[in-house]
Symmetry: none
Subunit: 239 residues, 4 copies
Amino acid sequence: MRTESTARRGAPGRPAGPQPAKRQAILDAAVAVFLREGYQRASVDTIADVAQVSKQTVYNHFGDKERLFIAAVDGERRRVAAGFTPSPGALPPAPRTAAGDPADDDGTTRPAPDRDGTDFGSSLVAFGHRVLAALLDERASALRRLVIAEVARHPSLRPACAEGEPRQLVEHLAAMLRHRAARGELDVPDPDSAARQFVALLVQQGLHQSMYGTRALAGPEADTICEEAADLFVRAYRR
Amino acid sequence: MRTESTARRGAPGRPAGPQPAKRQAILDAAVAVFLREGYQRASVDTIADVAQVSKQTVYNHFGDKERLFIAAVDGERRRVAAGFTPSPGALPPAPRTAAGDPADDDGTTRPAPDRDGTDFGSSLVAFGHRVLAALLDERASALRRLVIAEVARHPSLRPACAEGEPRQLVEHLAAMLRHRAARGELDVPDPDSAARQFVALLVQQGLHQSMYGTRALAGPEADTICEEAADLFVRAYRR
Amino acid sequence: MRTESTARRGAPGRPAGPQPAKRQAILDAAVAVFLREGYQRASVDTIADVAQVSKQTVYNHFGDKERLFIAAVDGERRRVAAGFTPSPGALPPAPRTAAGDPADDDGTTRPAPDRDGTDFGSSLVAFGHRVLAALLDERASALRRLVIAEVARHPSLRPACAEGEPRQLVEHLAAMLRHRAARGELDVPDPDSAARQFVALLVQQGLHQSMYGTRALAGPEADTICEEAADLFVRAYRR
Amino acid sequence: MRTESTARRGAPGRPAGPQPAKRQAILDAAVAVFLREGYQRASVDTIADVAQVSKQTVYNHFGDKERLFIAAVDGERRRVAAGFTPSPGALPPAPRTAAGDPADDDGTTRPAPDRDGTDFGSSLVAFGHRVLAALLDERASALRRLVIAEVARHPSLRPACAEGEPRQLVEHLAAMLRHRAARGELDVPDPDSAARQFVALLVQQGLHQSMYGTRALAGPEADTICEEAADLFVRAYRR
DNA sequence: GATGAATGAGGGTTCATTCAT
DNA sequence: AATGAATGAACCCTCATTCAT
């Protein structure tokens, strides 16, 4: 049994496709054009052209430009958010032994035996790079700029705006902090808050230095951001 | 009683100097309209109307919409940056007396044993509130959204974009950190970096929670942001 | 009774074909306005008004003012060129019988000894009057002025500019010359060149004296031009 | 005693010059801009800029754009007409010796003893080239196109339009014809008319083939035009 | 549901012209 | 007499949106 869309699209002479395919084509085109041009500059004509669809079809599906915009942003937001999800199982970098040795190298500041601060720190650095990469992805950046640009005029963009600090990554980091704290490696009273702060720090510095994704971040720049952030948190939370 | 125009012009014999007054009126109107509407939506007609000036006068002064935009953003950027400047004398003028502390302006009486962590922490909190206030000021927020929205299309906005993390406040904080470090109160290896991080943290969380200045931050929200940030830095740097 | 639009469209089922009727209305209006006002002075608004069509419809059909202009000139050029075509059958169909003489169409009975100079001369005079009439036709004149005015800025007008010397009439005259030469009446070594010259002479003097069609040519003026030209050619080529 | 203009312009600090110099600068600029752009396209701003004069000065001198246009065309017309004046004394090319050999080369067609057709013909060819050169001069061509373009809307251009067939050259040729006729070399009943015709022929063919001065005439093209015209007149008038 | 044609409003820009200096 | 600033009216073009098919 053929799906409705294949059934309809099978006819070669008919240029008109069925609904869902066209709808998606329009959405994709809208995302592309809105991200590139912004809300005002983007014209429904252009979107229809890119979608290879008549302009009226756009209106049939979405009613008006604003609703099309909201739908496009919403779709793209989900897409980008999916990119924030850490690869499954990537969580604990290598947390097996944990039953660490209380006697640390220098003995003084860091009581941590073998799971020393370096380990935690480099974990943070690595995590930081992942945050920056996700953050500065071209589409994600364009979406962020677009949302920030329009959120004042389109309140329905608020959820999208709130996703600027990627929840999934924050949760991932919080889990890691809890994990290490449970091992006695860290003394972090509020892992959620700490994770939010770490991500916020990276986000702000990354966006700031990359001009909100408008210019690429040189390798050393990203390194510095991550390392300084890691240093701060190591200082603050290492037991 | 002097007319406004004569009041503004320096030349004594000339009753009304046409240029500077109108130019400023246009700039003010442009700022208002661009901040409210964004670059595309703002029409030169509207700006001319608001400035009470003919449209062509706008063109005589600024050539085209883009240059008017750049000029308006630049002016507003300076204005906002001036708002970032800590009230003169708010910084400890000499590194000896703790009484000149910038934290004084929070109004609390503070019996304060002058070099404990509480002191540092509440200093940070107070400073944080000032950062948030400057940051979330309505015009500053609108300007930031505008700049972020357009920086991809107007490279000349990059300096304005870079000012998202207010340099003056960062320097102010760095000075405070150095001050306290000199007193032996803190162990902060890189005060500049630390100051940048503190401000970045506040900025990002403030912008995030206020939807880039689009909704007001409830008092407790701001408190939490500031206190958590202060806690982090106290943990990290208090000796 | 069929509506005008159904009458024009080939498709039988469709009640009104929107395009061709409007397109032609726009073209007609464009011709009228451009001829009257010139390229610059003519406004697309005016053309749309005259065509009883929205301005955007004009742009939908022709893209921009320049292309509309080219299309209008091209159409009118064809129309005018059609007016240059001598009435079919006016030319001697076969080169034997003198009765088929093109000079017949001046209406005179002409007892005409069929091969004397008078005959040739008055033929030329009559032909000259036809050239002048076609040349000084109001629309043809306005078109010529328009093309001359703009050919420097619109190279695509060159074909239209080249048609200033009407090819069809030249060919017609060349045929007549050959005809008479074949009868031994004339000694004309290069009939094509001679025809070109005759027409050029009439054109230049007609345009010159009528100020390029800007003022009407008095009857005697036209007579003089034609007669003098005829005299010259009779002198040059009569055997 | 210094003239008024030198007196005024002597002051180095004062940028403003006196009247006549500025007037001429404006006129020159107007000619340049009108010829290049046409009446409508030319803007008073541009003319003022080219003339290095304030726009209001233009209005002070000429009242409005139309009057400035007329004045500019009139000046340029005179300038061009001066270029038509044959170099003084250039008239009889060299008609004296010629006391040639009565026996011509081919002997048959041309009975002409010493003042033979070749002489007359080549005179005409040379004269034709001079007409074409004057005609197709760049400024003369641009002026002609401008005048033709605007004569319908500016009746005061009629004199300028009438000069399309350069009177001076016609008179020059008429004199030459009379001269040769007086010598018995030619049989030309109406030398003025004949001269007008010859010039008209050249003018029309030259303008036509050069697209009214819009493209250069190749050497052979000009040669053909002149030679064919000369041939025609030799045929017609040689005794 | 899909289309091509049509619309009215408005946007940026430029122009000829005039005031005030 | 000469200027710089100012004006209001257009002009070309594009937009979001709707009809008629």
